[in-house]
Subunit: 285 residues, 2 copies
C-alpha cells in the first residue's frame, strides 16, 4: 500500500509556538488511512527504498559526501524507543547505523558540559545516528527532578539550539521525535511487563516513581519542544499508543529525510575501462 | 527446512594442525543438503530463535550476566564480510549488536600495541560484537606487506592467543571465521563492481594490487589460522563463493554459540505482586 508520505511527515511536525500535548491524541494515526495490517505492509513496502537510500548516503560518506542523519528518540518509559529501533531502524544495514542509548550520566560525563557525551556519539559522515534518549534528558528529568538550577536549565535550551544549528550547518539532518503515549497506555504496558517473566528485566520499580511525576514530565516536554523547535532541527510528536503507527511514522520520517538529500551514487575517481583491462589481462596468480 | 545445525558448525571448524586452504572447496556447502532456496529458507527460519537468544543475552547483561559474544570476520576483498553483516547479523536487534569495521590504523593507533584499538572495540557484557576485519590484519597484511619485522609478527600470534584466552575467561565466546572465496570468484565480483555504477564506490584500484599477492595472502591465512586455532577461540573456514551458504553458515555458528550459553531470562529482583498492586492502586496522575 502506498500513500503520500510527505503528508504524514508534515502532519507530525510540531508548529511553532506553545505546545499542548493533551490536545494531541496518542491513539491517532494522522496522515494514514489504513488499519494495522495496512500500516505494517506500508512499512515493509518502504524497506527496499530505505535500504537503498541509506547505502547511497553511506557510499557518499566514503567518497566526498558530507551528509549524515541524526534521529533523536525521546519518550516516557515504555513509549517504544526500543521497539522502534528493532522494527524500523532495523530495516537498514546495521553497518550504516550507529545507535547510542543514553543512560544516567557517569561521574566523568557529569564533570563535562551536558553536550560533551552527546557530541562524542554523533554519527560520522555517511552514517545514520540514532539516539535512544539524548541531550533532551538534561532539560526533561533535569527540570522535573531539579538536577540543575533553573538558570542552567534555561541556558541549556539555547545551548541545544546553537549546537543543533551547527550540526545542521555541517551537513547533518536532525529529526527529533517524541513518542507520545497516554498514561493509561503506559500503565497497561508496565502491567504487561509484570505479567510476563521474560519481560521482568525491562521493569524497574524506579520507573513507577517517575510515572508519578507524569504531569511534570509532560510539561517539561511541552517547554522543551517549544523552546527547541527550530527550522533546522524540528520536533515531531508521534502518536505512539499504536505500535504499528509509531513504526510507520518513524520509517516515513526517515524515508522523506533521505529522499530530500537527493542522494546520487558517487562517480568513480578511477578509469573504469582501465581497471577492467587490468583484471581481464592479469598474469596468472 | 530444519537441519542438524551442530553438524554444520562442527564441519566448519578447522582441525588442529597445518591448514591447507586449497584443499577446502570454496564453492561447497558442507553440512547442508539443500539448494539456494532451501538455504535462504533455513536462515529465515532461524531468525526468531536468533533474535530471542540475542535478547536473552542482552537481558542477562542488564542483570548479573557476564557473557558476551565476539564474531570475527576475515576474508579477502569481496569475500562478503559486508553482505554477512547485512543479511545475517542484520537479523538481530541492532541495539544488541556492535559492529566495528577496522581500516588501516591511524597514526595514534599505530603508536600503541596492535591490540589497543581492538580491545577498545570489544562488546560490553550482553552484547554481540562483530569485527569486520580485526587484529588478524596485523598478521595478514602485516606479514604479506612486511609492515612489521618477522620477529614482531611471530610475537603477535602468541599475543593474540593470550589475549583471546583472557577474553574467553572473562565470559566472551569468540567465533573466528575466514570467508573463503576462490581467486576466480573474486575476479568475477570485482568485474561485477566495475560493470555497475552503483557499485563503483566499493571498488578501489588498490584492491587489485593486493589481489596480485593472492598466494602470499593465502599462505598468511594458513599460518595465522594454524597458529591461533585454539580450543577457546577456534577458527572456521566458510566456503563463501555461494553467498547464501556463507550467510547460512554464519547464522548457524551464531545460533549454536548462543544455544551453548544456556540463556535463561533474568529473575526479577523486585516483588512482582507488590509492583502490580502499586500500579493498580496508584493515585490519579
Amino acid at each position: 500500500m502506498s500513500f503520500p508520505t510527505s503528508d504524514l511527515t508534515a502532519g507530525l511536525r510540531v508548529p511553532a509556538g506553545a505546545v499542548d500535548l493533551v490536545a494531541i491524541d496518542t491513539d491517532a494515526a494522522p496522515g494514514f488511512d489504513g488499519k494495522r495490517a495496512d500500516g505494517e505492509a506500508a512499512l515493509a513496502g518502504m524497506a527496499v527504498e530505505l535500504a537503498d537510500l541509506q547505502e547511497r548516503l553511506f557510499a557518499q560518506g566514503r567518497s566526498d559526501g558530507r551528509r549524515s542523519l541524526l534521529l533523536v528518540l525521546q519518550g516516557m518509559d515504555t513509549s517504544g524507543k526500543g521497539g522502534t529501533l528493532r522494527s524500523t531502524v532495523g530495516l537498514m544495514d546495521p553497518q550504516g547505523v550507529r545507535i547510542t542509548s543514553f543512560k544516567a550520566p557517569t561521574p566523568e560525563e557529569r564533570s563535562h558540559d551536558f553536550l560533551w557525551r552527546i557530541t562524542k556519539a554523533l554519527p560520522p559522515v555517511g552514517l545514520i545516528g540514532v539516539f535512544d534518549r539524548s541531550h533532551y534528558e538534561d532539560v526533561l528529568i533535569g527540570r522535573v527532578r531539579s538536577l540543575a538550577e533553573p538558570a542552567e536549565i534555561e541556558r541549556r535550551y539555547d545551548a541545544i539550539n546553537q549546537w543543533e544549528a551547527e550540526l545542521a550547518a555541517e551537513g547533518t539532518t536532525v529529526i527529533k521525535c517524541m513518542l507520545h503515549i497516554s498514561a493509561e497506555e503506559q500503565k497497561a504496558r508496565l502491567l504487561a511487563r509484570l505479567d510476563d517473566p521474560s519481560k521482568h528485566w525491562k521493569y524497574n520499580p524506579g520507573d513507577v516513581d517517575e510515572r508519578e511525576l507524569w504531569p511534570a514530565y509532560q510539561e517539561a516536554y511541552e517547554v522543551a519542544i517549544e523552546r527547541t523547535n527550530t527550522e533546522v532541527a524540528p520536533w515531531h510528536v508521534i502518536p505512539a499508543d499504536k505500535k504499528w503507527y509509531r513504526n510507520l511514522a518513524i520509517g516515513t520520517l526517515l524515508l522523506d529525510a533521505l529522499r530530500d538529500l537527493d542522494l546520487s551514487w558517487p562517480v568513480a575517481d578511477f578509469d573504469v575501462e582501465h581497471e577492467k583491462q587490468r583484471l581481464q589481462h592479469e598474469k596468472p596468480l
